[in-house]
Subunit: 285 residues, 2 copies
C-alpha cells in the first residue's frame, strides 16, 4: 500500500527499510545553521521532533531511550553526584537523571540552542527538567567542553547519529578526553545504534572506547519503535577496573522512589544479555 | 521523504505507523480462496512473504520469531516428544523444533496449502524441514484438528493476526480444546502481538487462556524488526501446575548441540522480564 502525504517517512538506507508515522500537522520548522528541526503533531505518537529528516523523539516512546541511557549507569555507579550530558537538548535524559536524589549537578551541553527552545515549547514535560536548580544548560561544542573539565562521575553522550555535528562524538580522541574528564570509578554512556543494522558502527566503537583507556564496556539492548529496526543499544564504559558494569545496586533499583515507564531492576539485568549472532560478532572484534 | 513505488509498505492502523521495505521485484502473487500471498525480492531483507498485506516472514529476521516461539517451550518441557504446530506453513517453526533430538513427531496443520508450496519455492532453507521423517504436513482447519487429537506435549500456535482465517485461533473455546489435547505437563505457545500497540489483544488473551483451564502463563519479549513496533511477544501456557514456566533446563539450553541466530540460555531468561508499564497493565488484568 502506498503512503500519501499524511505520512512522515524516515528512510534507513543501509537496511533498505523505512519507518513512517501518520501526521496530523507540521507544527514548526526551524532551519538553523547547524541542522533543520521539524516538529509534527502525529495521530498516535503525540508530538515528534525530527532533525535533518531523522526522528529524534516522540511523546509516545522517548521514555524508553531516556531511561535506558541514564538509569543503568546511575544504579551502577557507587555514588553519582556530578554529571554531564553531551547533546540531549530535548531534556528527556536530564529529566531521568534528576530523579536520582544523589545528583548534585548536571551540566547539559547541547550545541544547538534551537533543540532546547523547541523542546520547551513542544515537549514541556521533558524540558521542565531544565528549571531544576541542579541543572545547567550550555550551548557550545560538547567535545571542547569535555576537554576543559574533570571530576565528572558520569558522562552521558545523548547524540544524534554519527553524521553531521555529532560525528566527532564517536571518535577515539573524544572518548580519550571523556576518560580524562571522569573521576575515579566514573562511567561514560554512549548511544550505540541498532544491532540489526549498525554492527559496522557498534563494533569499531567498542574498540575505540577501549583504546581510549576505558577498562571495560557493557552493551544494553532495548526496544525503541521510532528508531530503525525498533532495536537500539547504549554502551556503558567504565573508566577503571573498580567498576564492574555487569553489577549494579539492585536493592536501590528495586526500591527506587520514582516512577519509570520501562526501566526496572529486572529490565536492567535483561538488557545486558546479547543474542547469539551479536555475541559471535563481538567475539571476532 | 516520500516513498516511491520501489517500496512495500505495511500500515499498522492502530498505531498510526507503517514499516516499509525496499523492493527489487515482486516474484509471485497467489490469490487463493483463503488469502492472497505475495512474494517479494527485497534489497536488504532477502525474500519476503506477505499475506493479505501483512509481512509474515523475511529471510533476514524470521529466525528470531521462529526460535522464540519454539525453543523456550522445548527447553521448559521435561520431555517433549509429540508436537503440533497450528499454522506455520512457512516451516520456519518446524525447522527449529526439529533441531531437538527428543522430538519423535511433529504435525503441522496449515489451513492454506499455498503457504507451504510457496515456502518450498522461495524459502527452501525453511521448507526443507518438511522433508524430515518426523514431520507430517496437513492442510485442514487447525482448530478442528485439535478437537480430535490428544496426548500432545507441546502445541505451537504460529498464526497470522486475529483477523481472517486465524480469528478462531485466539478464542477461549480453541484454547480449551488445546488444553484437552495436551498431555499432562503439556505447554501451549501462542504468538501474542506487540506490547506497545496491542495490549487490547494481549490482555484478554491471557484471561481467555487461564479461563480455558491453563494453570499459568508466561510472556516472552523479543525484537522483530519486520513486525509492527519491532517488539513482539509469545505467550507460553502450562496445562497444569507440574510445569513452572519461569524455569527451564538451563544446562541443556546452554549445551544445545545446534546453532541459533538469536536464542540462547541468557536470552531465554531475559525475554521473560517485562518493563514497568507492561507489569502495571497486566496486574490490572
Amino acid at each position: 500500500m502506498a503512503l500519501d502525504k499524511t505520512w512522515f517517512s524516515e528512510i534507513c538506507e543501509e537496511s533498505g527499510t523505512a519507518f513512517s508515522v501518520k501526521i496530523q500537522e507540521k507544527l514548526h520548522t526551524e532551519e538553523g545553521s547547524l541542522q533543520t528541526i521539524d516538529i509534527y503533531a502525529t495521530e498516535e505518537y503525540g508530538n515528534m521532533m525530527v532533525i535533518d529528516g531523522f526522528i529524534m523523539i516522540t511523546d509516545r516512546d522517548n521514555q524508553i531511550y531516556h531511561e535506558m541511557i541514564s538509569h543503568p549507569a546511575l544504579f551502577c555507579h557507587k555514588n553519582p553526584r556530578k554529571l554531564a550530558i553531551i547533546g540531549g537538548g530535548d531534556c528527556g535524559t536530564l529529566k531521568e537523571v534528576l530523579k536520582h536524589k544523589s545528583i548534585e549537578s548536571v551540566t547539559l551541553i547541547e550545541i544547538d540552542e534551537n533543540v532546547v527552545l523547541l523542546a520547551k515549547k513542544f515537549f514541556p514535560v521533558l524540558a521542565h527538567a531544565a528549571e531544576d536548580d541542579r541543572a545547567t544548560i550550555l550551548h557550545e561544542n560538547g567535545a571542547e567542553w569535555i576537554r576543559k573539565h574533570s571530576d565528572l562521575d558520569i558522562i552521558l553522550i545523548d547524540s544524534t547519529d554519527p553524521v553531521g555535528p555529532a560525528q566527532e562524538l564517536f571518535s577515539e580522541e573524544f572518548y580519550r578526553n571523556c576518560h580524562k574528564a571522569l573521576a575515579d570509578g566514573g562511567i561514560m554512556v554512549q548511544q550505540s545504534e541498532s544491532p540489526l543494522y549498525h554492527m559496522n558502527i557498534l563494533k569499531p566503537m567498542q574498540k575505540s572506547i577501549r583504546q581510549a583507556g576505558f577498562a571495560s564496556t557493557q552493551i544494553q539492548h532495548f526496544f525503541q519503535s521510532s528508531y530503525p529496526s525498533g532495536w537500539w543499544t547504549c554502551t556503558m564504559a567504565a573508566k577503571d577496573a573498580s567498576t564492574d558494569l555487569s553489577k549494579f545496586n539492585e536493592q536501590a533499583s528495586t526500591d527506587k522512589p520514582f516512577d519509570t515507564f520501562y526501566y526496572n531492576a529486572g529490565i536492567h539485568k535483561a538488557s545486558m544479555v546479547s543474542p547469539e549472532f551479536f555475541k559471535r560478532e563481538m567475539e571476532e572484534n
